[in-house]
Structures are given as C-alpha cells and as structure tokens.
C-alpha cells in the first residue's frame, strides 16, 4: 500500500483574531491545488468524518462565489459560502468564508488565505484564517464541540474532569 500519511495538521493562534493551520502533503502543489479547488474532489474530503458533501460550487475567479453543503452524520445540513478575493493558481487563494447557520452570517465572515509552497515534490500548505474579533475566532475553534458529536462531548467531559 502507498504511504499516504504525509504529516499532521498543526493549528496555532498567531493573534487574537487568527487561526493558522499548516500541513505538509506528499504531492506537488499542482495536485494539491486541484484537490483543494475542484468540486468533485472537494466532495471527497471537505466533510472529514462528519458527514457527506452534497454540493460543492466553485466559481474560481476574483469576485466569483463558492458554496459547500454537507449533510452531517446527525442528519442536519451545514452550508458555508464565500467569495474569492485573490486567485493565483497553485500558489495562493484568498476567499471570504461565511457559515450560513448563524444569525446575520455575513457580519461574521472570515477571510481565509491559503498558500502552497513546493519543495522536492512535496507541498507545504499554510492557511491563515482571520476573523472580526476574538469572539468570532473562538466560535470557529469551538465549532467542533458545538456540532453535537459524541466524540466532542466526551472530550469536553475530559477537559472538565482535568479542570476539577
């Protein structure tokens, strides 16, 4: 079997309103870009283990819009959308990101800057997520726990136990 594990994602909080996600991929950036921006391929990874992507719309040009919808394992629908601000194929993508499931979603849009750098056939990805303020940033980080997954609830319980 081919070795597919090329690293684990690293998440840091560089500033009050930011999240930085970095990850290495065992593939050239040309292919990482393709996997990251092609609707049929996005459907295969974007929902992780939380559900199934039912729709991925991508209009990959400055000012173009995107929208991803997934049906979560618990049955409800989760939709994100946004607009592309910068498109430099294989190198850099800047887009807004809005979670449709909250009141006044557009007031809480995030700005996502993804960059890909290739070395020796491998790709290093940096994804900087910037939000209006710390509260919005923290809500995004906490979103996993709010999804109602048992895994997260168990995890929360562990945290609570470790605090007591």
């Amino acid at each position: 079997m081919t070795e597919t594990t090329s690293g684990t994602a690293k998440v840091t909080l560089p500033a009050d309103n930011q999240i930085m996600i970095t990850r290495g991929f065992n593939a050239p950036k040309r292919l990482v870009w393709k996997a990251y921006t092609s609707p049929e391929l996005i459907k295969r990874w974007w929902s992780g283990d939380r559900g199934t992507v039912t729709s991925a719309e991508v209009d990959l040009r400055v000012g173009g819009r995107w929208r991803y919808v997934m049906t979560a394992n618990e049955g409800f629908e989760v939709a994100f959308r946004g607009e592309y601000r910068e498109v430099f194929p294989e190198d850099r993508l800047v887009n807004t990101e809005v979670f449709e499931g909250i009141p006044d979603p557009d007031d809480h849009a995030g700005l996502i800057t993804v960059s890909f750098a290739e070395k020796d056939g491998r790709t290093h990805m940096e994804m900087l997520c910037e939000y209006r303020d710390r509260a919005d940033r923290d809500a995004v980080v906490s979103s996993g726990m709010e999804a109602g997954m048992q895994e997260s609830l168990d995890h929360l319980e562990q945290v609570a136990v470790s605090l007591s």
């Binding site: 081919t2 292919l31 990874w45 992780g48």
Partner: protein, 117 residues
C-alpha cells in the same frame, strides 16, 4: 463588546503576543526579570506587568534565589487551551487525511497517463 479581563484565565493571559513570548522563553528554563527585559527589548515595568498577569493565572511561578527573583513556567493551565485546539485540529486532520487519499489517486492517474503517452 466587553472584553474579559486578562487575568480571568489562561486563555486571556496568552492572548497577548508578548506574554506568549515570555512563556516561550521560560519554557527553556527559569530566568530573572532582567534577562527577560534584555531579550524582549521592553521596559522593566512592562515585563513586570506581563509577569504579574501570568502569575495570577498560575502560568508563571517565582522563587527567590539570593538577591534575584527567578521566574519559571508552569504549563498546566495551558492544558484546557491545548485540548480545545486539539479538537479543531483533529477535525482538520480528518479532512487532510482524506485529501491525502485524493492526492494519491491523482498521482496514480497521472502515472497511468504517462504510461499511455
């Protein structure tokens, strides 16, 4: 929106970049305040103020050694932050693991195309 006081808990205390820098320095070992002043390039009152916040949330401890006060790291209050971030990190790891599979398929498909050429 009202902000929580920096002294409420470790989450607020580490929101300040300079305080994170102090924690990084102390993770390498105990240091007197003069040392931190020199490395950070800040005035002593500022450094002392940051150290006070870090002490109040239990991230930094202090002990007297001769005439010097030595500051050290106590990382335990960082655990809830680590756990909180870890859940989010796991979520992205699941996505990226699936993306790895997509990439392997793309590589394989390219290899096939090359052989067909």
């Amino acid at each position: 929106m009202a902000r929580a006081a920096t002294t409420t808990d470790a989450f607020n205390a580490v929101a300040e970049p300079r305080r994170r820098q102090i924690l990084d320095l102390l993770s390498q070992g105990e240091r007197p305040v003069n040392d931190l002043v020199a490395v950070l390039g800040l005035a002593q009152p500022q450094v002392s103020k940051h150290l006070r916040v870090l002490r109040e949330v239990g991230l930094v401890h202090v002990r007297d050694e001769g005439r010097q006060r030595m500051y050290g790291l106590n990382a335990e209050p960082l655990k809830p932050i680590y756990d909180w971030l870890a859940t989010y990190e796991q979520w992205w790891n699941k996505r990226f693991d699936l993306m790895d599979q997509v990439l392997e398929d793309l590589k394989e498909a390219e290899g096939r195309d090359d052989r067909d050429d």
